[in-house]
């Protein structure tokens, strides 16, 4: 937790001196979708913090687990209390590098991002692809990828095993704006 906080403080301080290379959004969107024969479960989080440094190709994302909004209150309760234990692990984070950040230009291209994703206190290295485009006003990034619940030690009780998919589809959409204060 301290490390994340320190990371953000560092990012800010650097952002101060070199504003135009750092882009940030405080209301990025991350949603996930679980498809199963019994029910489909969807949740959306519109308060995701994402910071991109395009000169070094670094990226840092922080997500509040309690900000995921479900259609049904009961699902949201189970998600927070039983599955991700959001009182114990209130945040998910991602810290990584954009491998081909020189490809971020005015036209839409696919980039590869490699880094560490931490959910439920478990860190795993992932590689994801994102569609990106840079305009005068912002850097857009969007894409989706799959995660395995077992990789992050999220246990699903056998009674609801058929209701929740083992593989969860995660979608994201960020519109980073130049960081200035």
């Amino acid at each position: 937790m301290k490390a994340i906080y320190t990371l953000f403080i560092c990012l800010f301080l650097v952002a101060f001196t070199n504003a135009q290379e750092r882009f940030l959004t405080k209301n990025g969107m991350i949603s996930f979708f679980s498809k199963s024969p019994i029910e489909n479960i969807k949740a959306e989080n519109n308060q995701v913090l994402s910071i991109v440094d395009i000169s070094k190709g670094q990226m840092a994302i922080a997500i509040l687990m309690k900000s995921f909004m479900f259609e049904k209150a009961l699902m949201q309760e189970h998600f927070n209390e039983n599955y991700v234990e959001s009182d114990k692990y209130p945040k998910a984070t991602f810290k990584g590098n954009i491998l081909d950040f020189d490809k971020i230009t005015g036209s839409e291209t696919t980039i590869t991002i490699k880094g560490n994703l931490t959910i439920h206190g478990v860190t795993k290295e992932i590689t994801i692809e994102a569609l990106t485009k840079k305009t005068a006003a912002h850097i857009e990034m969007a894409g989706d990828f799959f995660i395995n619940l077992a990789d992050f030690d999220v246990k699903i009780p056998s009674i609801v095993k058929n209701n929740i998919s083992e593989k969860i589809k995660v979608s994201f959409r960020f519109q980073h704006k130049p960081y200035k204060k």
Binding site: M1, Y5, F8, F12, K26, N27, N46, Q47, L49, A62, L64, K66, S67, M69, K72, A73, L74, Q76, D87, P90, K91, K181
Partner: protein, 143 residues
């Protein structure tokens, strides 16, 4: 005689099964917390809320998370995110603020709010990133 008993038993069983199905369905479809209809658990200023989170996040998490918080502050910025309005309340810190995501209903009914105005908002606290975040906010008092 026996036939009657069996019928009775089937009848009782039917009622038990039906009522447990109804209860199950009700629990499954339990509604989300309605912020507008519930009173606030904690009343706080935007500034103090931010200070609490920035000094000891773990402690603040246990105090504020999932609670309905009435927060008083001055509007630093109003933004539109799709259907929803996002009201940022200023604090004494240059970097941090309290970000309040209004409900769809209040987003429509809040045309009168302006930057610089002081108001009281009620919402559910989901945590702290760079700022304290409140969701499902409704405006309770305009000054």
């Amino acid at each position: 005689m026996r036939n009657k008993n069996v019928k009775k038993l089937i009848g009782i069983l039917f009622i038990v099964v039906l009522s447990s199905m109804i209860i199950g369905y009700k629990i499954y479809n339990k509604p989300h917390v309605n912020v507008a209809e519930n009173s606030a658990d904690i009343i706080q200023t935007a500034n103090m809320l931010f200070i609490d989170f920035s000094t000891d996040e773990t402690k603040a998490n246990s105090t504020y998370l999932d609670k309905i918080i009435a927060v008083k502050g001055t509007i630093a910025n109003i933004a539109e995110e799709g259907e929803k309005r996002v009201v940022t309340l200023q604090t004494s810190d240059d970097f941090g603020s309290v970000i309040c995501y209004l409900t769809e209903e209040d987003s429509k009914n809040s045309a009168q709010i302006q930057e610089g105005q002081t108001l009281v908002l009620k919402g559910i606290c989901t945590g702290f990133l760079m700022d304290v975040i409140l969701v499902k906010c409704v405006i309770t008092d305009l000054k």
